[in-house]
Symmetry: C2
Subunit: 395 residues, 2 copies
Amino acid sequence: MTNWTLAKRAASMNPSVIREILKVTEKPGIISLAGGLPSPKTFPIAAFKEAADKVLLQDGASALQYAASEGYAPLREFVAKQLPWDVSPDQVLITTGSQQGLDLMGKILLDEGSRLLVETPTYLGALQAFSPQQPQVVGVDSDDQGVIPDDLARKAGEGADKARMVYLLPNFQNPTGRSMDEARRQAVVDRLASLGIPFLEDNPYGDLWYDQAPPAPLTARNPEGGVYLGSFSKVLAPGLRLGYVVAPKAVYTKLLQAKQAADLHTPTFNQRMVAEVVQSGFLDQHVPTIRALYKKQRDAMLAALSTHFADLDVQWTTPTGGMFLWVRMPEGIDTVAMLPAAVERNVAYVPGSAFYASQPDNRTMRLSYVTASEEQIHIAIKALADTVRATLAAR
Amino acid sequence: MTNWTLAKRAASMNPSVIREILKVTEKPGIISLAGGLPSPKTFPIAAFKEAADKVLLQDGASALQYAASEGYAPLREFVAKQLPWDVSPDQVLITTGSQQGLDLMGKILLDEGSRLLVETPTYLGALQAFSPQQPQVVGVDSDDQGVIPDDLARKAGEGADKARMVYLLPNFQNPTGRSMDEARRQAVVDRLASLGIPFLEDNPYGDLWYDQAPPAPLTARNPEGGVYLGSFSKVLAPGLRLGYVVAPKAVYTKLLQAKQAADLHTPTFNQRMVAEVVQSGFLDQHVPTIRALYKKQRDAMLAALSTHFADLDVQWTTPTGGMFLWVRMPEGIDTVAMLPAAVERNVAYVPGSAFYASQPDNRTMRLSYVTASEEQIHIAIKALADTVRATLAAR
């Protein structure tokens, strides 16, 4: 008999709650507000087809070969140039989705038991990406602007227990949809600099603003003090798995070595295709169409919530960009317990508890408004309100 | 000032020797026998173009969307069907290159200090992939058939120090080109079963046999006792980064969770394209053309070695498939020290010492015969022999 003795860390690897929910939503007729799937209407299929053909015909031998772990040079140059601070292409590492940037950062910065600060709540996939390194994850108290600077100082830790990094999503955060304003950004960056704690800034949604571009990134304010993660998943398509890391020199070298060990390099063909598409200035015309679509769908969800939850003690965020909205249900509702009843009424969501490092607020849920149509959103929110009323009535 | 405190494991992450060498080989005019780059002549560009167009036009919305972490179902079915033992598609996990399979296996099986057995020498990229988990890597004595079963037993460890797994490359091993014969395979599998130690079988080159298919894989002999890694990099193209893991149920669940945390899923578009290409039976015609090409180039290298090293005490392997050949230079040659002189004469190789867990044999080197043409191989081997003679003469 073979003895499979698993690593200690494997015990803490659990099936993703979101993943399990998405399986449920495969039930025909269900309207899912659970997934974070960009609307396929926004995928530039024709541009990709043209790029794929061009790359294969003109340079197939290189586009299909092994390549440098750093990434395709013209794509690194594009990334560096479009960021709103002074970035050298040498600081850009192309990753297999920005999820991989989280994995690599965990590998180079976190030992077992290392203190890691996160927002309350925070992106579930980040908690999963860091989990193999078995850090001590500490939630920082957060308001509708993200982390509260004074609580950063209280949770910073000291000596060997000093926080290795703070993981932050300043723009249209997953799961809440909230953003940090100018003052909060500067306060957080200043406080972290005085504490000597690096930040990991995750910005997959920053380009999806509706009325006004968000304030400058944290990394633009202190490029040596943090690492920045970006993604092509929300402005082009997630199925190509293309993201990037921007890092100071000392950190970059280790990230690169971790990247090479993880998958040698990000698929060459995908990098070439996307470079081909973006170099023509395609995003300048394309991204505004995504913003317009998602804004309309956000408005539809806000209107549906106002209509169907008018008589209930329910709060929700009003995101100014991104893909998600965060809802807090009336007292007496546990969103995990209520999910089967919601699915019964053909609507799915993600219970908020999955997004907390500890002490979850069981009344919360994350709703995505980008995958379902406006009409579907109205139907689904009504079904959700019906579920809440029925649940409260049955208590 | 921000304090970047790196994880302990980051200290052991070092630039890959091969990688640094490949940089040197960018010098114009050099013939590199160093890289493990498949010949771009073998890349089926037309088939990929047709597949890319078809996938985008017929199902672009799905092909560019987020997808299941397990991989694209038809591709998992293809993989299961073409393997020479009874495999269910449920056991197949599509990975971002088979390198990622190594990373995932390290994550779920290795704690800090865990005993990990490897061949002597072994694939450098595997040592790098396992290194973040800081295992205790133990080289098992090996002959021209791979690991010696009795030494497996001697190095197995006991109690808490019992080996978590043995990493094995039975076919046309990287770096030596050697293969395990029928008797050795069975002896190793039986011995491991009696020791209760799982194996990780890495088989990127198995389809590249020249005259005769290799004996059945280790995993076919004990499917519950090991995990199998395969790849599309050598039979189609490496730039798409497509590999797969075949694992018993208990291990599969943890691998899947680690995969999801690492990069959510392997690029959807790449999986769809490759599924499109392979489902038509394309590999049946295509792979024999790769075998024929590489066999001719192996013959060219063997002939060149016989010609140019006739008067020197040099041994080399005669691989019956794959991409690499292993050479042991005369006493007095240190292949690391000699490399700059070889590059001076416009030839590059990988010093063998990089491939040892400990106690390297500094007289060895790895030569690839698949990237350079027959004519270039002759020129390069002559230059290498000249370098050796000059080095010996200068002692």
